[in-house]
Symmetry: C2
Subunit: 131 residues, 2 copies
């Protein structure tokens, strides 16, 4: 990836602060380590909305935006609600206007099954026992 690429880090949103915190932390960790334009957006409750998150790439010159759902697994939110907000076609792609040029939106998979999830979960179990 490079500065022609944007990542829209997408969260569920919550009345509690924790979902927003983790989404913003993921966005910050990626922005700090990778040469890519990063923005955040939330499906519910929190700001910016998905529409406003897409609009926040204005002025960046990105040609591609990866919509990256920070969800553990697919469900109704990632399979219906968010694709609807992004106006994705059947190939999970869309286009939007960024500064008068057409940018492509591609939709990433949620975190999904990975050993790092099990390792982190086990660490949380160990921490609970040591409290």
């Amino acid at each position: 990836m490079n500065r022609n690429t944007g990542i829209l880090v997408l969260g569920h949103g919550s009345t509690r602060p924790h979902n927003k915190e983790i989404v913003e932390s993921v966005a910050k960790m990626i922005a700090d380590r990778k040469d890519v334009i990063v923005r955040t957006a939330f499906m519910n409750v929190n700001e910016p909305s998905i529409k406003d998150g897409l609009a926040s790439f204005s002025g960046t010159g990105v040609e591609t935006i990866v919509a990256l759902p920070i969800f553990l697994a697919h469900g109704v939110h990632t399979l219906e609600d968010i694709p609807g907000e992004l106006n994705l076609d059947e190939d999970n792609k869309a286009t939007i206007d960024v500064d008068g040029k057409t940018a492509e939106i591609v939709y990433a998979e949620p975190l999904g099954i990975d050993p790092c999830i099990a390792e982190l979960a086990y660490r949380r179990a160990e921490e609970a026992l040591s409290r």
Copy 2:
């Protein structure tokens, strides 16, 4: 941890199969790699329920059960719904009867902020671009 300890891997539950798949994959990865008794349970929709998941430690001889929520972040589910189902006290602990002996339930934190979440998310973004 050892065979006196159980981990109840807790999922949100979903009408779609993916949440159950990730919860069961986490449970299997922990069971395969660690010397600990592992069971699963779901807050909604999927089986076993949290009550049935706790009951499934019958016959294992566990003295401690770590209730391990496979949620990204705290929210109403992890702060109210699941503690209610587990009958946790103000210290996030409870006791239940397992085979006529008292076992302690301790409640772990959700996955939360960790670099591995950002690294996995970034990998999903890269995969989306290479499709």
